[in-house]
């Protein structure tokens, strides 16, 4: 298990180089990368605030839950904070398991929980000012499936 919280940009391909590979007991690796999207066509950047200390605790607890629930061989979470440009990776998760159903389910579980239970807050910076991104009801509903 590796959990990394960082301000710097990262390369999803490099971060997962060799992840879950070269082991006889891993048949499936799933990765998810979240990128800064601009639906308005006017966004200049995304600022991500977090709660140092609690962030690491919360992500570790979520990852440990995923590992035990789906017997993961490995699990990776990277999340950035600070100032991000449109198109840049914000975060990623990776899961390695024996079968594809487990690797997929664990990655979706991690994403659903990181969305609503890890202390990050996003603010969109545009030409007309700044605005905090509101949590979506659908993200809260997504948790009920686990």
């Amino acid at each position: 298990m590796r959990i990394t919280l960082q301000q710097a940009a990262f390369d999803p391909g490099q971060e997962t180089a060799g992840f879950g590979q070269g082991r006889a007991d891993v048949g499936a690796v799933v990765t998810f990368t979240g990128l800064v999207r601009d639906d308005s066509g006017k966004m200049q950047a995304l600022d991500i605030e977090h709660y140092p200390g609690m962030t690491e605790r919360a992500i570790t607890a979520i990852a440990e839950q995923a590992i035990s629930r789906w017997s993961l061989a490995d699990c990776l979470v990277i999340h950035r904070y600070g100032h991000l440009a449109v198109g840049e990776p914000i975060m990623m998760v990776a899961t390695a398991a024996r079968h594809r159903a487990d690797a997929f389910a664990a990655a979706e579980f991690l994403m659903d929980y990181l969305k609503s239970r890890a202390p990050f807050w996003k603010k969109e910076i545009g030409p007309d000012g700044e605005s905090w991104v509101a949590a979506k009801d659908s993200d809260e509903v997504a948790l009920t499936r686990w």
Partner: protein, 82 residues
């Protein structure tokens, strides 16, 4: 004496990221009432508690939770990670 932390728009409305608070509040809800009584910035930040979340010593909690033994309380809007 507890450390109280504010994040995102809660921090912006109050104008502080953290402060040390002397309180005898028994629960989170009691503390919120005491803070709201302080000045309009706190009243604005805590106007709609349904829009707020709270963590006690870095674990999510609810507003009825007791404060006995708690050293760090954080108030923030629903999280938007991922």
């Amino acid at each position: 004496m507890v450390e109280v932390l504010y994040f995102a728009w809660v921090r912006e409305r109050i104008g502080l990221a953290r402060e040390t608070v002397q309180t005898d509040a028994a629960t989170v809800a009691d503390l919120i009432e005491q803070l709201k009584a302080r000045d309009p910035r706190y009243a604005a930040a805590f106007a709609d508690v349904a829009a707020l979340r709270v963590a006690l010593d870095q674990d999510l909690a609810d507003f009825a939770a007791p404060l006995a033994g708690v050293r760090e309380i954080a108030f923030f809007p629903p999280m938007t990670g991922g």
